[in-house]
Amino acid sequence: MAVDLLRVDDVHKAFGDNAVLRGMTLSVAAHEVVVLIGASGSGKSTLLRCINGLESVDAGVIMVDGLDVTADDADFDAVRQRVGMVFQSFNLFPHMSVLGNITLAPRKVLGVSADEAEQRARDLLTRFGLEAKADDYPDRLSGGQQQRVAIVRALAMQPQAMLFDEVTSALDPELVGEVLDVIRGLKESGMTILMATHEMGFARDVADRVCFVDAGRVLESGPPAQVLGDPHEARTREFLARVLG
């Protein structure tokens, strides 16, 4: 019954002789929340960047909502309009206000009028408790606020799925919660989410499925209780023992 919104099929990707993705296979159904865990360098960020067309693949197929991202004539602009991405380092545009950051892509890519883009941006900011920050510049915001604005900026393009790449790793511990709450809210509103994170507690709470990535492929995948609580693979157990201390 569930339709796969994202499908990654036997994808390979190397940087020089460094084979980073080696037969990555993964799918995310509509409205599903899938969390990627795995050691540093295992290829989680690379996978997310390939899905968004920021990196090209060497072999394999990635389908986003029926569009082949890996085709030679792939229309990345169309793909990126369907999939929003948020990065570890926020990457807000420092020369634009919060409102400017959020309305840029809707105006320039979707051709939405300035008034309408601003109205939508304000509605989104209100929804995430950021309405007072609309006219501030990014360097006036806390890290947590910046990351929430980055999420709003991606949502303003009305994507069908969101990719989150360790969006809380650069935050002070007391600011992690506010960003995770936003993602939890997105799940409740039915957003399809694929995210890499080191927040195991959050993965256990929110994920529909957890995938353990090891050396460029998904080694083990299943409900969070099983993968995190009773992993089948020895590598998964080792990894969890290391991160959970």
């Binding site: 602009d77 990126r80 929003g84 990065f87 020369h95 840029l104 892509a105 890519v109 360097d139 991606a154």
Partner: protein, 290 residues
């Protein structure tokens, strides 16, 4: 504001300073100001007296700072300076546009632009390595001597073109370093929002890069303002040439001093503006949260 010993708890927005410490600080800063004033007055007083009483001074004064020649020269040199300003404005306009285009070409990765990238690199190497005066002479005397029909023969035009060619190479490098200094994550963020490559440059990368390179660009402007005088070797009566004509006619160097003062008056506002802008950016950077 001055005496709120216990009130600092009630009004936390007024920083509390021990009154005794405050008055000690005030006394010290008054003393510092007095010492600075005194030492400055004494230093320059001694220099002026030493120069004015030295045996050679009357000769120097007559050759360089003669009041009559000053009065004679300055209206003429000032009018001629308008030509320098004209050269500067026209050249700067083209330099900014061509410099930015050259920088973008050299940074592009498109395979179709490879020949242009090669030309761009050669161009930069050649014109940064060649003395500006040589380019002025080569174009200003060389091209009109070819007698090619359709090409302008006005030395002013060729002098200006020479300055444009020379300075574009510098300004392109300034733009290039500015663009390269924008972190790739900014580009990735823009592309992930669906912006095209051109839109990413236009709305995200260039506005940040240009803001960053304004101080070094203004530095190059100041330098270009002076170098407009190089065109004098081709004959047009701009400020330096106007001064030179009087110098040769009267055997007195005061008109050169007039020219120097006028050029300085032209560049000082720009130099101060550059300082101010640099200081402001420095403040912004240090007060930013990242």
């Amino acid at each position: 504001m001055s005496t709120n010993t216990g009130a600092s708890i009630v009004e936390p927005e007024v920083p509390y300073v021990d009154p005794e410490r405050r008055s000690r600080r005030q006394r010290r800063s008054r003393r510092n100001a007095l010492v600075a004033t005194l030492s400055t007055v004494v230093f320059f007083g001694v220099v002026v007296i030493a120069v004015a009483t030295s045996p050679g001074w009357p000769v120097v004064q007559d050759a360089f700072f003669n009041g009559d020649y000053f009065a004679l020269a300055w209206p003429e040199v000032l009018v001629a300076l308008l030509i320098n300003i004209k050269i500067f404005v026209v050249a700067e306009f083209f330099i900014l546009i061509l410099g930015l285009l050259l920088a973008l070409t050299r940074l592009s990765k498109s395979p179709a632009l490879l020949p242009l990238r090669i030309v761009g690199t050669l161009y930069t190497d050649i014109f940064r390595g060649t003395p500006t005066l040589l380019v002025v002479l080569l174009l200003g005397f060389g091209v009109p001597a070819l007698n090619l029909s359709g090409l302008p023969t006005d030395p002013l035009v060729w002098g200006t073109i020479a300055l444009i060619l020379s300075y574009t190479a510098y300004v392109a490098e300034v733009f290039r370093s500015g663009i390269a200094s924008i972190h790739p994550s900014q580009r990735a963020a823009a592309r992930s929002l669906g912006l095209s490559n051109v839109q990413t440059n236009r709305y995200v990368v260039l506005p940040q890069a240009i803001r960053r390179v304004i101080p070094p660009l203004l530095n190059d402007f100041v330098s270009l303002q002076k170098d407009t005088a190089l065109v004098s070797v081709l004959g047009p009566i701009e400020a330096l040439r106007a001064a030179q004509i009087i110098v040769y006619g009267k055997f007195n160097y005061t008109p050169y001093i007039v020219g120097a003062l006028l050029f300085i008056a032209l560049t000082i506002p720009m130099a101060r503006f550059t300082d101010w802008l640099t200081a402001r950016q420095e403040r912004q950077r240090s007060s930013g949260s990242r």
